[in-house]
């Protein structure tokens, strides 16, 4: 088969370009630790969440430098997130588990890499670390029914010592007002949280 000389060059450049694109992603995943949502191997009965980690949604410390937040996304709110903000500590590993008892939702912490789907029967696991106290908006970005446009929430990153180590997330509410003020005062620099499975 005849291939024009220029076309051979174009073909070679194209192949190099494609390999470079794949390599840049590999570098992002392996070198910088920025991956995406994976498979936790855990499946749930959407109608039986009271038997799971989502029975009492909210945040808690699992040890001194690891904070876990269980979030239920349902038509048309995040629990926690919508009625009360999700409070998480700064400079700490934070893991979010999100699931849905009804339809497919989205969980997008605007301005960060935390952007994933929430699917009934599955748990979405996102791990990250926030550099500094700041307030973020959370948006459901998958159409989930008539009230979808109202489904949003708030995530507030506070200094780690403002979240009591032995209490539940509910007691964190007492400091919410303070924390919001802190977050508003915090520098506007964009945090670059790392996401991994």
């Amino acid at each position: 088969m005849e291939i024009h000389r220029l076309e051979k060059i174009w073909l070679a450049v194209s192949l190099v370009f494609i390999v470079a694109l794949v390599a840049s992603i590999v570098y992002g995943v392996a070198g910088m630790g920025v991956g995406t949502v994976g498979d936790t191997g855990q499946q749930l009965d959407p109608n039986g969440l009271d038997q799971t980690r989502f029975a009492d949604p909210g945040g808690h410390w699992v040890d001194d430098d690891h904070y876990v937040v269980n979030v239920v996304a349902r038509q048309f709110l995040f629990q926690p997130g919508t009625q009360e903000p999700i409070m998480v500590p700064a400079n700490t590993t934070v893991t979010f588990y999100v699931t849905s008892p009804d339809v497919v939702h989205g969980f997008d912490v605007v301005g960060t890499h935390l952007n994933a789907m929430v699917i009934p029967g599955q748990e979405t696991k996102l791990t990250t670390e926030f550099d500094e106290p700041k307030s973020y908006g959370i948006v459901c970005h998958e159409y989930c029914g008539a009230g979808h446009q109202s489904m949003a929430g708030q995530l507030i990153v506070v200094p780690a010592d403002e979240l009591p180590k032995n209490g539940s997330a509910a007691s964190g509410n007492a400091t919410a007002t303070n924390a919001t003020a802190d977050a508003a005062n915090a520098s506007a620099a964009v945090a670059a949280p790392e996401v991994s499975a």
């Binding site: 005849e2 194209s14 992002g28 936790t40 497919v104 605007v110 008539a146 708030q154």
Partner: protein
């Protein structure tokens, strides 16, 4: 001889398919303007924030599924019969599948309409991805199934015509247009298997109450098995035009026939095992699987990059035939005043731009920046909404006279139309990409929230909204121009004057005899396609059905 005189029966089929396609794009376009006005907050008095989702569903179904599919089966019916120089054996079969597609379209559309019109007892505000467990009326799923099954009939017609031709011409290479049409329809058979199983085995019986639950992740994965390959089903007919007709419109001929075949074979083989790149954000699918499909996604750039070369090279060749000189000055020698040429050239330009956006979408982790934001519809309004749709409109200016025997009317409107579309889309798509980068979600009727601030760099959200609405109006004006030209040509008389266009297509500079004959052996390519699919989709599908086809299961939740 003109096509309508050679194949009057087939010409009628093509005209009927085009008529439905153009009615769909007209209606879908009007709904698009309403959406743009609503989302940006310019006008929210015509309907409610809830009705928005029915309108969005109708827009998506009409544009992405109905307009495209009907135009494609029409275009390929012309291309196959013209290039084989033989009609279909039994036009009753042909009208049968076209009728089935039409019935499916009406059923699906009326089901969606029921969400807005009170006396129609259906609802289907599930958008064109219809993720379970949001549930539409059974008629919606049935309509979609009929539309797809009907389109399979078109593929059967093309394959049968090819087999008959091959029996008469055992030693000849398959004519390029037929080769491309058949390769595209084979791709269509392979990828629609996923959505057909999703709809017929799961969603339809579930919406009828015959099975209580379906697995949302499994049905979604079956959808995306289809959901990205479908974009190549839209794109390849545009490539068919770019490879086989556009060089002639530029004043020259195709650069290389064998490479065109290689490109279509690559698409057939690679376009389905990439669907998981729409599910990077999904739980329940491993990162390894996502990585594998990301790699095949990036490799499918290759046939498009090769196409870019051929299209530009064919254009340059044509320009030089027309007396064009210089390194880039030859561009001026091209017939920019002819809408069939300018529309395709602008479509190609839009596609090049959107290709770079696509590389962002395809990145396993970079995708998180844009996933499900307005960036994504911004992207596909450039690809299917411009590269494909503008190519289809442009080639209509060239085809319609041959299908009707009538000279094109309202030529000035036609000459302006592609430029209007392009400028309108530049504004609208640019604004959509940029609000998307700020995190504004797609598929939301009122993307304003008390708790969320979207930071757009450079321009404010208000300025970007103005660009979106302005662009949408330009696009609609362009659409009206197109429809005016089509309707006025269609209703005109068949004059005594000969047509200004003809269907003769010059041979390629490097003909099919320069390519290996294995290229024409579709059996080999289909087997290879299924092998790749087994690797790409075997493990995740096996894992999902291991604990039961319907578990973890969700009961229907009416949308």
């Amino acid at each position: 001889m003109t096509y309508i005189d050679d194949f009057p029966g087939e010409a009628r089929v093509v005209r009927a398919a085009f008529a439905i396609a153009f009615a769909s794009i007209g209606l879908g376009g009007a709904l698009g303007v309403l959406q743009a006005l609503f989302r940006t907050g310019y006008s929210r008095s015509l309907f409610s924030a809830v009705d928005y989702y029915s309108i969005l569903t109708a827009h998506g179904v009409l544009m992405a599924l109905v307009f495209t599919t009907f135009f494609i089966v029409g275009l390929f019916t012309w291309g196959v019969t013209r290039s084989l120089d033989t009609g279909f054996r039994d036009l009753r079969f042909t009208w049968g599948w076209l009728g089935l597609m039409t019935l499916g379209t009406v059923l699906a559309f009326v089901s969606v309409l029921g969400g807005i019109v009170g006396w129609i007892p259906t609802h289907a505000a599930v958008l064109y991805t219809f993720y379970a467990p949001l549930e539409a009326s059974p008629t919606f799923y049935l309509g979609l199934a009929l539309l797809i099954v009907g389109s399979w009939g078109a593929g059967v017609d093309y394959v049968l015509a090819l087999r008959e031709w091959r029996a008469d011409n055992p030693d000849e290479r398959i004519p390029l247009q037929t080769f491309m049409a058949v390769a595209t329809m084979l791709l269509w058979f392979v990828c629609t298997l996923g959505v057909a199983v999703e709809v017929v085995v799961f969603l339809l019986p579930w919406s009828l109450g015959l099975i209580p639950r379906v697995d949302p992740l499994l049905t979604r994965t079956l959808f995306w098995y289809f959901g990205h390959a479908v974009v190549y089903f839209w794109l390849l007919p545009a490539y068919f035009v770019w490879y086989t007709i556009f060089p002639k419109l530029s004043g020259g001929r195709l650069f290389s026939d064998p490479l065109a075949r290689v490109v279509f074979v690559l698409f057939l083989v690679l376009s389905t095992p990439v669907g998981v790149h729409h599910q990077y954000g999904d739980p329940g699918l491993s990162q390894g699987l996502k990585f594998v499909q990301m790699t095949s996604t990036y490799f499918i750039l290759l046939p498009s990059l090769l196409t870019a070369f051929t299209v530009v090279a064919s254009m340059e060749h044509g320009a030089r035939q027309r007396g064009g000189k210089g390194l880039v000055k030859w561009l001026r020698a091209l017939p920019w005043e002819k809408p069939s040429f300018s529309g395709i050239a602008l479509a190609g330009l839009a596609f090049a731009a959107s290709g770079f956006g696509g590389m962002v979408n395809a990145g396993l982790n970079v995708n998180a920046l844009v996933h499900n934001t307005m960036w994504v519809p911004g992207h596909f309004h450039l690809t299917v909404g411009t590269a494909v749709a503008l190519t289809f409109m442009a080639i209509t200016y060239w085809l319609l006279p041959q299908l009707s025997g009538k000279r094109l009317r309202l030529r000035t409107l036609a000459a302006v139309q592609p430029y209007l579309w392009f400028v309108g889309m530049v504004f609208m798509s640019n604004a959509m990409h940029r609000v998307g980068l700020a995190g504004v979600p797609r598929r939301t009727s009122e993307p304003q929230y008390e708790q969320v601030i979207f930071n757009t760099p450079i321009a404010t959200i208000g300025e970007l909204h103005l660009q979106t609405v302005g662009g949408a109006f330009l696009l609609f004006a362009s659409l009206l121009c197109f429809l005016a030209v089509v309707v006025s040509t269609w209703l005109g008389d068949r004059g005594a004057e000969p047509l200004a266009v003809n269907g003769h297509i010059p041979e390629a500079l490097s003909g099919p005899e320069h390519g290996p004959s294995i290229l024409d052996n579709f059996r080999v390519w289909v087997v290879l396609t299924f092998l790749l699919l087994l690797i790409a989709y075997g493990p995740p599908l096996a894992a999902m059905v291991q604990n039961g086809l319907f578990a973890p299961g969700s009961a229907p939740i009416p949308a």
